[in-house]
Amino acid sequence: MARLADVERWDTGQLEAVFGRLGSARDRLVDLDGKLAGCAPPEGWVAPSAEAARAAHGGVAERLRRVVAGVTACRPVLAHTVDEIEAVKRELQTARTNAAAAGFEIDADSTISDPRTVTLLPEQVEQYRAGRTQQMQTLRTQLDGLLARADAADAALADILTRAAAGQIDDGASTNLASAADHVLGGAVVPDPPPAEAGPNAARAWWAGLSDTQREAMILRSPWMIGNRDGIPSTVRDEANRAQLPDQLATLDSDLAAAKARLAQLLAAHPATSTEPPSSADLAEVARLKDRIGDLQTRHEATVAIQSTIALPDRQLLLLDVGAPGGHAPHAAVAVGNVDTAKHVAVFTPGLTTTVAGDLGDYTKDMKGVRDVATAELKKVGRGGEEVATVAWLGYDAPQLDSTLFDPDRSVASADPAKAGGADLARFYDGIAASRPGDPPHVTALGHSYGSTTTGYALQQTSVPVDRAVFFGSPGLGTDSLGQLHVAPGHVEVLEARRDVVADIGRFGEDPNHLPGVRNLSSEATRLPDGTVLAASTGHSEYLAPGTTSHHNLGLAVAGLEDKQVVGPNVGFGDYRREFPGWQPP
C-alpha cells in the first residue's frame, strides 16, 4: 500500500499535463488518416515489390491504429486518476485536521499516535481509553480506505499505461485511425447537452454527470458542442476548441480555393479582348464570388491569428467561432493562465474596430502584461501562491469603420452592438462562476472604450455578480445607476486618462466618473506628497502601457489589492465643459 506521505506528495498537475499532451497527440494522429491513405501503394501496381510495399504500409497502419486506441483508452483513466487522487488528498487533509483537533498525530507511514495527556478520576479512565481507542480505530479505517483508493487509482493507471505501451488495446479491426479511437469509446452513449438557453449551471451539471469515457467521447466526437459552452471547465473548452482548428482551417482553405477557381473560370470565359459582353448572371456571380472570397479570407486570417495566439504556453482557447460567410464577424476568447485553477480571473472586452484577425494577439499580449503586474503584486504582499488568469474576450461584433458606420443598428454611435455583445458576455462571466462551484475565483470585468459599454450591459444581465469592474476610456455604461450593475458594492472603478475625450462624452449614459459610488483611479502623471511619481497614460489608447499608473491600477484591481491602488479625481477639461450652459451629450 502507498505511504501516506507519498500520496500527499503526488502531483496531479503532472498527470493533467500528460492528459493534455495525449489529447493533442491523439488529434494529430487521427488527422494523419488522409495522409496514411494517400501513401498506400496504388491499386494497379502488380509486382513482388508491390506486395512488400502493401505489407509494410499495412503494418504501419496497424501499429498506428493500436497507438490511437491506446492513447484514447488512457485518457479517461488518467482523468479519473486525477479526480480520485485530488479527492483522496482533500479527504486526507480533512482527516489530518480533525485528528489534530482531537489530539492525535499521524506520521508519514499513517501510524496514529495519541500523545495527549489528561488528568482523570480513576473511574473515568476506562471510559476515556475506550473512547480514544474507538476514535483511533475510526481514523485508522478512514485512512486505510483512502490509501486503498489511492492504490486502486494508481494500479488502474499503471495497468492501462502498460497495456497501451505494449499495443494491447484492441482497435476492433478498425479500418482507419478515427474509427480506432471511436471503437475504444464505442460503448459511450452520451446524453444530449441541455439547450443553450438553459444557462451555464445546466451545462456544468450535465458535464459533471458524465463519466470520464463519456467526456472523452464528447471531446472526440462533438467538440463543437462543448468548446463554447459557458459553464464547462475551461481546460475542456480549450481542448475541444483546439481540436476543431485544423479542420476549420482546412475547410476554409478548400472553400477559398473553390471560390477562386470558379472566379478564374468565369473571368477566363470573358477575356478583356472578347467582344461579347458577359451576361448579367455572370456579372452577378462574379460580384458574389468576390464578396465571398473577401469574407472567407477574413475568416481565414482570423483562424490563423487564433492559431498563432494559442501556440504559446499557458493559453486557453475559450471561444472559437469564426462564423460563416455572410454571418457575424469571427469571435474568439483566449485566456493567459488557467481559468479553472486561478484565484483571480479577469475578463477584458475591447471596443471600436476590434477584430480577431487584427487584434487578438495584441489584446492577449496586453492581458499577459496585466497578469504580470497582478502576479508580481501578489508576490510582493506575500500571496505568491495565488494564480492569476486574464482573458481577452473578442466575442461580439465590435463596431467597425466600414459601411456599417451608416447602419443605425451596427454603428459605433448605436448601443445595439453593445447590448447584443453584453448578453453573450454576461453568459461568459456566469460560465466562469458556474464552472467552479464551491471554489469561486475573484472575477474582475475590464472594459475599454466601446467595450466598456458592452461590459456595462453585460453586468446588468449576469446572474452572479462579479467581484470588481474597471471601466477605462468609457463613453458610458448603458446605465446611470451603479445599482443596475451586478458588481460587489464599492467595487466599480473608472480610469480616465488626460486628453481622452471619449471618456467624457457620456454617449451611452452619464460620464462614468461622475456616477455616485464609483471609485476613480488615477492615470495621471504627478508627484504625490509622499514622493510617489505617477506616470501618465495619455489619450484613449495608452491605459495598458506597462509602467503607467493606469496599468499598475488595473493589475492591482485584478489581484484584488485595492489598498495599493492610486486613486485620483479623473477630472479634466472634458469634465469642466459639462458645466457650460446648454451642454448636451452627443
Binding site: E301, V304, A305, S308, L312, P313, D314, V336, L352, A357, G358, D359, G361, D362, T364, K365, K368, G369, R371, D372, T375, A376, E377, K379, K380, V381, G382, G384, P399, L401, L405, F406, P408, S411, V412, A413, S414, P475, R499, D500, V501, V502, I505, R507, D530, G531, T532, V533, A535, T538, G539, H540, S541, P546, G547, T548, T549, H552, K564, P586
Partner: protein, 186 residues
C-alpha cells in the same frame, strides 16, 4: 402613404444622426493617436533572436541580484519559473500579424522588504546595471513607507523592467519583441 413617407424620413434622420455621432466618436477615438510608421516583419527579423535576449536578460538579472547583495547585504533570492509569461508581438508598433515573441522572464524574489534606508542604495545599484543594458528609468516610481517601485525601459526593442517591494521584493523583466522560437521555463 403618409405613414410610409414619415417612416422613410425618420429612417433618413436616424441614419444622418447616427453618421454624425459616429464621426464625432471616431474623431475623438482616433484623432489623438500619434502618427508613427509601423515596423515590419523585416524590421523585427533584423533584431536579435528571442533566445539570445532571454540569455542576455537572465545575465542582467543575475548581475542585478549580485549588485543588490553587494549594496545592502546578501539576500535569499529564489526564482519562480511558473511566473514566466509569453506573448506574441502585436504591440501596436508593428504592422498586424508579424511573427515574433515577447517573453517575461521568471520573476526573482526574496521574502523580505527593502527598507526605506536601503532603497537609495538598491536603486543606485539596479540603475547602474540597467544602464549597461540600455535601460532608462521611467514610468511610476514609489518610495514611501516601506513601499518601493522602480520601472525602466529599453528603448531599442521595447524591453521593460520592474522591481518593487511590500512584504517581499520582486523583480521582473520583459524582452520586447524578437524573432525566433522561445525557450520555455519549466
Amino acid at each position: 402613404m403618409t405613414t410610409v413617407r414619415g417612416f422613410r424620413v425618420h429612417r433618413v434622420h436616424a441614419a444622418v444622426a447616427t453618421l454624425v455621432t459616429a464621426l464625432v466618436l471616431i474623431i475623438l477615438t482616433t484623432g489623438c493617436a500619434k502618427e508613427r510608421p509601423l515596423l515590419t516583419q523585416a524590421d523585427l527579423d533584423a533584431r536579435p533572436p528571442i533566445t539570445e535576449m532571454q540569455d542576455r536578460y537572465e545575465g542582467m538579472l543575475q548581475r542585478i541580484r549580485a549588485a543588490i547583495d553587494a549594496a545592502v547585504g546578501p539576500r535569499e533570492w529564489y526564482v519562480d519559473n511558473k511566473s514566466a509569461s509569453y506573448g506574441t508581438c502585436g504591440d501596436r508598433n508593428f504592422v498586424p500579424n508579424v511573427i515574433g515573441r515577447d517573453v517575461t522572464l521568471p520573476f526573482w524574489q526574496f521574502d523580505r522588504p527593502i527598507t526605506d534606508a536601503e532603497w537609495p542604495a538598491v536603486k543606485r545599484a539596479v540603475l547602474d546595471v540597467l544602464g549597461q543594458y540600455g535601460f532608462q528609468p521611467g514610468g511610476m516610481a514609489v518610495d514611501t513607507g516601506g513601499d518601493h517601485e522602480l520601472n525602466a525601459y529599453e528603448t531599442g526593442y521595447g524591453g521593460y523592467f520592474n522591481i518593487g517591494n511590500k512584504i517581499n521584493t520582486v523583480m521582473r523583466v520583459s524582452t520586447g519583441c524578437h524573432p525566433g522560437e522561445i525557450r520555455i521555463y519549466r
